[in-house]
Each structure stands twice: as C-alpha cells, then as structure tokens.
Amino acid sequence: MFSYLDGQTLPLIFAALMGVSILAYVILDGYDLGVGMLMADATRPERDRMVATIGPFWDANETWLVLGIGLLLVAFPAAHGMVLTALYLPVALMLLGLTLRGVAFEFRVKAQAQYHRWWDWAFIGGSALSSVTQGYMLGLYIMGFEGGLVAQLFALGAGLGLAAAYTFVGATWLIGKTEGELQKRAVWWARLTLMLTAVGMVAVSLATPLVSPRIFERWFSFPNIIGLAPIPLMTGALFMAIWVFLKRMPRADHSLDFVPFMGAVSLFMLGFLGLAYSFYPYVVPEKLTIWQAASAPESLFIILMGALVVLPFIAAYTAFSYYVFRGKATELRYD
C-alpha cells in the first residue's frame, strides 16, 4: 500500500518537511531572538516583561531548529556534511549566540544580583549574534558557498537583513502580548524595523538573481515571470498594509493586537516561498539535488511513519501550551 513512497517521492516529502521545520524555526525563534535584540532599548522592568512574553515558549521554538538540522542530517546526510563543513565558523558563532541567549533566560534572574545586568547583555548579544550569523549563512548558501569579497559582503548584508526581520516579528509579537507603555514602544519598534526589513528584503531579492544566473533564468524567463509576479506583488502589498495598520496602533480595543504579527508571519512565508522556488531541486545550490543527497528509502520510510504518528500530537500540545499562556503576558512565577 505504500508502494508510491519510493526513492522518487520520499526525498521530496522530506525536503518539504525540512522546509516547514526551518520556516517554523525562523518564525518562532525569530520572534524570540527579535524580542531579545529589542531588549537593548528597554529598562530592566520592561526587559522582565519582554522575557515573560517568550519564557514559556522559547525552548519548544528552538526545537524546530534541532528538527530542521536533524532532518538535513538524517534525510540528506551527504548535504549535511557538505553544508556544515562549508559553514563551520558561522555555525560555531551562531551556537555561541544561542548558548548565551538560552542560559541567560535562567541566569538573568537566578544569578547573584550584581550579575543580572551582565546576563541581560549576554541575552541581547547572544540574540543579535545568532540572528546575524543565521542570515549570513543564508547569504553564503544563496551564493553557493563561494568565497570572495562580493559573496562575503552579500552574506553580511543578508545577516543584517535577517536580524532586521527578526526584530520586526519580535516587535509585532510584543504588540500582541503586552499593553500600556510597553505596547506603545513595541508599535514604534515595529514601524522602524518594518522599514529596515523592507530594505533588506528588496536588497536580497534584487541581488540574488544578479549573483546567480540560474536563479535569474528561473524568475525572469517567459512565461515564468507572469506566473511568479504575484509573489513580489503580494509582498509589496502586505508591507503597505502592515504599515497602514501600525499607524493606527495601539488601539483601545485589544482584539486586533495580533494582526501585525500575523502580517509578519505572512511576510516570512512569502519570502520563504520565493527562496524555495529559487533553489528547488537543489539541497546544496548547483552541487547536490535532493535525490542525490537522500538516505536509503527504507530509512526515510521508517522516519516518515514515526513523524506521521507523532506530528499531530506535537501540534496538539503546542496549541495547548499557547492556549494556556494566551492573552497578555503576566509575570513569570513558579508558584
């Protein structure tokens, strides 16, 4: 009955699963990291409230990174080695950032009082370092891991662009989870970072086809250009809509506080769609397709069966956790 799950379709399914995991990570830990970076511009009591909006969620959010990299590892072992060896140094720096940010959640309140501020800055610096290095790696990936000054500059630009996008989704998350003065500040942060995100997204979108003839061919040959036009057009319209909506915030009625966050999520999805279209069917640009890099179908099959059974449960209890901690964030307390 599973005969259609063969060496042709299984790698495709796993590429989709990996893509969904990475997208989930970028959105979910994106807002955590964004909130972390925005803490640079906040007082200690504000920082406490900002951490309270992400405290119950960040750990599960980061697990999507483990799943994404895990799927690369288990489903496309040949690509995993190639990608991670090429990204050796930025990966190490990203891990340093994630480590500092992760432990700072605990240390910033549990350590001796005189160190609280140090750990706040470890939180902020760790969030910034993780965000910039993730974007930098995306940039190198787009460039097909080429060396050279142009590639490095492009990657650095992508790093700053992704950091801007993370602060934007973080600011919109704060709009949804806070009220009063802090929410007002969050609206201001969201407007500022929306502009930075737009600049970053336009720059990467323009630079990508210029540096890769293959991607240029994909997007700008006829008739692709007509079929694909909705992606950039929708993205542009969404930017305008979010901008207009943010102008009217904060509102006395809190029922629409999550609209900017939903807008940010939609932006990430459109950006992801564009990238996925640019790279398919390669898992390592211009070097390995998803079929060349895939593991044995038997092994993929056994993982897929497990995933199909377990993923609905993960979705259900994740939803339950968001339900328990719904609404405006209250202070985090153990009792």
Binding site: G55, D59, L67, P77, L84, V103, K110, S299, V324
Partner: protein
Amino acid sequence: MDPLLLARIQFGANISFHILFPTITIALGWVLLFFKVKYNRTRDEAWMNAYRFWVKVFALSFALGVVSGITMSFQFGTNWPGFMERVGNIAGPLLAYEVLTAFFLEATFLGIMLFGFRKVPNWVHTLATFLVAFGTTMSAFWIIVLNSWMHTPTGFELRQGVAFATDWWAIVFNPSMPYRLTHMLIASGLTCAFLIAGLSAFRWLRHDRGPDVMAALRTGVLLGAALIPMQIFVGDLHGLNTLKHQPAKVAAMEGNWETRGNVPLVLFALPNERERRNDYEISIPNGASLILKHDPAGVIPGLNEFVGPEGQRLHPPVAPVFFAFRIMVGIGMLMLLVSWFAGWRLWRKGDITVPLAWVLVGMTFAGWVATLSGWYVTEIGRQPWLVTGVLSTAQAASNVSGGMIASTLTMYLLIYALLITAYVSVLFHLAGSGTKAVATPSGAGVAGSGGAPVQPSGVTAKDS
C-alpha cells in the same frame, strides 16, 4: 596540531559538558514528580516548597542541557561528516525519533511545569511534570540505543561500505543497550541524589532547616543509599557484557596485558604502554578472574591479543581507560559509605551532624565525576573504532583545518568554563538564599528586591 585529535578533543569537550546536565534532569524530573505527588496526597506544604526550590534547579540545568545539546546536533556534521555518510541510515531514524518523541514533549510541557501552576488545574500541572520527566527519559532511551549500537552494532548489512538496516528490532535492542541504559539511568539517579543531599546539607549548615529542606535531604540520602547497591550490581553485569563484546576495553580497564588465567585485580598501577607492562602495581591475586569469570583460574584476554601483525595497536589507549575506571569505582564505593552512614544517622537520630553535612556538601557533584569517568571508560575504550568493526574514528573525520578547529575549540572551552562556574555558583547562591527564594516568586516581573513575600500556605490550596 593534528586535526583529528583536535576534532576529538572538541567533540569530547562538548559531549562531556552536555552530559552533566541531562544526568541531573533525567532523574530530577522524577524526583519532582515524587515531591508533587507527595504534596497532592498529604497537602503538606513542605513537599510543595521542596518542589518550588528544586524546579528552579531543574530549569537551570535543563537550559544548559538544551543549549549544549543543540551544539552537539551541529557537531555531528561539522566534526564527523563520515559518520552520517556511512551509518546515517541507522543513526538517522534513531536521532529523528529522539527529536519527535522526546524533545518537543519535554520542551513544550516544561513551560507549563515551570510557569503554569496558577494557569492550569493542579492535575494538569502534575501531568506536565510527569510528561517532562517521561520526555527526558525517552530522550535518554533513544540516544543510549544509538550509542550502544555504535559499541555493539547488529541488525544491518554493509553495501559498498554504507550500513543499511535489515532488522530494526535487533538495532534497537542491540546486545549492550539494556545494560548501558540501566547503568546510565541509575547513574543519573545517583548524581541527582547526591546533588539534592549536598545542596540540602549546605542549607542545613546555614541553619535553614525547615521541613522542606529536611524532606529533600532525606529524599536525597535515601535515594542514594537505595540506588548505589543496584548500581554496583548492574555495573558488574555491564562489565561482563563488555567482556563478551569488547574484550580489548575490559583488558584496558583491568590493566591486563597477557591472555591468561589467575588474573589479579589491579588496585593501582602506572600502565606503561611502551614496555607493555604495569609499573608500581598493587593487586589482589586472582581478583579479576574471580569477578569476570567467577573462577580464580578463569582466562581473560589481555591487551597483547589486540596488536596487529606489524605491531599496530588495535586496542584503546590504556592509561585513560584504566584510571577513569578506578575513579568511577572509587567514587561508587565512597557513595556507598556516605549514603549508608547518612541514612543510618537520619534513621536513628533523625538528623545529621556538622561533619557529615560537610562531607555531603563535598560530594554534591560526586555523581558528575563518576558519570564522566564512566563515559570516558566506555568511549575511549571503544577506540580506535567509532562504530565497532564498521567505521574508525579517523575515517569519519572532516577535512576542516586544524587551525579552524583550534580556534573554535578555544572559544568552546572558554564558554564552558564560564558556564560551569556560573552554574555551580548560582546553585549554591539559590541554596544560600533558600528560604527567601521559596517565599519570593522569582522570574521576570520581580524587579530588584521589591517583591512582597508571598505566604507559602496561601498560594496553593485553592488550585486543588
């Protein structure tokens, strides 16, 4: 420096740092569930206060375990690309099942366990505690399955050097898995027992001797006293299993060079690999033969059995395995002595003494040392193999340059030193301000010292 050696040191440093924290959280999750169930049954605030203190230790340990675990999932690829290329068809599904069945479960319910006490009914909070404990144990199960398979691989076939699974049942229940899993789970229990006893004794010494501190102290001491004989028994069985499947490892553990009968039990020696003998040996005649073969004349393979025709070494480096084994066993014996004596004191007199409290404080992290030593025995003891008989460590290495590895290694070592120092000092800081920490809710939202003390008894009854 040799990139292979650097890559091994880096991975070894990271995995050593990582294992410290799961070793605590695996068992501490169940101890927290015990505190919670005790509280549900007796409604005695002491148990809930013990829970509130130890859940903070759990949260801190868990965070350190998560961040170092993420580092590991990347280092498989950055340091050992050959591992996944050759045995990825087997390691992949096992790792995937760990993420799917354990990581999401524990990470999601941790939020409810830590911060959800006022937001969900009491039984949901208890259930969340159970699911977190269950998740950490599932995670231990899958990773021990993979690790054991690397020691005693079964259920696969090689096609052009790449392993393909033929029998998943044989892969999961490979010969060394049940022993290694039990040995590790008890090690986690012991590490947690001595951590609880040590920090509680520290609070006791600071005249913080409330019913919650005494309840935790008794729990730690009794858990240690109950587990240590089991651990000695299981450790012995694990050794016999290793003798059957990896005799070179046991030869290094015993410092036994020649294949022979009447092998003595070496208490101390300096293994001399150049001369292939032990210097300054102190030993009990026939001891090793008796333990491993239950017969004084029992023949045990020696290290010289594992030398290639051109003199190449096919056994692990002897000294690290030999000494790590003695450290592990030595701490085990000390644990037996201390936990039984402390248990007897608590049973007969209902309290501990100042010198005993100091001994317990001194042994707060004894479980860490024993667990690390045990892992060094088994992992260094597997060399030169990464997967016994299938893949050598050198074959799996990446072509990243030595300089690059050395620079990131320095970075990792610095950050690990910082984090260990911070972790240990914060644990004692939390214990030192123990009573305050229970009465004052910590976490975000409590700025400075302005938080008003909450009456512990008033908080919880209404949630039932």
